[in-house]
Symmetry: C3
Subunit: 107 residues, 3 copies
């Protein structure tokens, strides 16, 4: 038995939750108030058999990998521009810790 602790961007949390649930994993979400991602993030706890850890990480990789996005921006650094223009931002990303579980109980 392993415990997967995954810290993901809030933007990806809903998709991660859905994908894990559809694949039969029970994920618990912890409210995370700050962290390594600039935007807010969510911590998931997923308990799983050893041979399914790869499947959990595969799901996380598909839903959370860091990627660039073109987003509209409304301000220029020097304050001289008006209107919106596109900028490239990095979003997503996840930090995943896999821990060994000594004992597991469903009560």
């Amino acid at each position: 038995m392993k415990l997967v602790l995954a810290i993901v961007s809030n933007d990806d949390a809903a998709l991660v939750n859905n994908s894990l649930t559809k694949a039969g994993f029970q994920a618990t979400k912890l409210a995370t108030t700050g962290g390594f991602l600039k935007s807010g993030n969510t911590t998931f706890i997923v308990g799983t058999q050893n041979d399914k850890v790869d499947r959990v990480i595969e799901i996380l990789r598909r839903q959370c990998s860091r990627r660039t996005q073109i987003m509209p921006s409304t301000s220029a650094p020097d304050g001289t521009m008006y209107g919106t223009y596109p900028i490239e931002v990095t979003v997503g990303g996840a930090t995943v810790f896999v821990l060994d579980v000594d004992r597991f109980e469903k009560l």
Copy 2:
């Protein structure tokens, strides 16, 4: 030293907290925003000596085990019933992970 991570129903969280504290365990509650239980749930972190893990799980089993309850319901699936009638619902339940602690410090 072991770390017990227990995810319990919000309904049972207060009793769990009291029972653990009375038995001399220090429990930390994490705010859990979703998870494997339909209703909200709470995650407890309890650090304990190896030989007291059974005692922690015994407390959790007594306070959190899944059980059925008769509750009043006010709506029928087809919308044709009025008033309240009793339905049987499953409440409680807990998922418990016991992890080995490499090092423990009280600062």
Copy 3:
């Protein structure tokens, strides 16, 4: 790779966060709703290489150790005093668990 789980007083959380970040550690804060400290507390998750665990604990010790503080109090136990007078209170403190990490991924 190790995972450091540190439960600290809310009063110390901002300084802990700053110090860990300045020292190059990525700390994730979990919202903690109750726990072993009378006042509210915050749980930090910090992933780090084995040989840097001492550095993390050193930072926590500097920022969070239990200490006494003189604070103004406005009420006497028997309700007969008026105005404020100084009392000594214990603040801070931290509980630290270090766990071994089986596998670590940055996605």
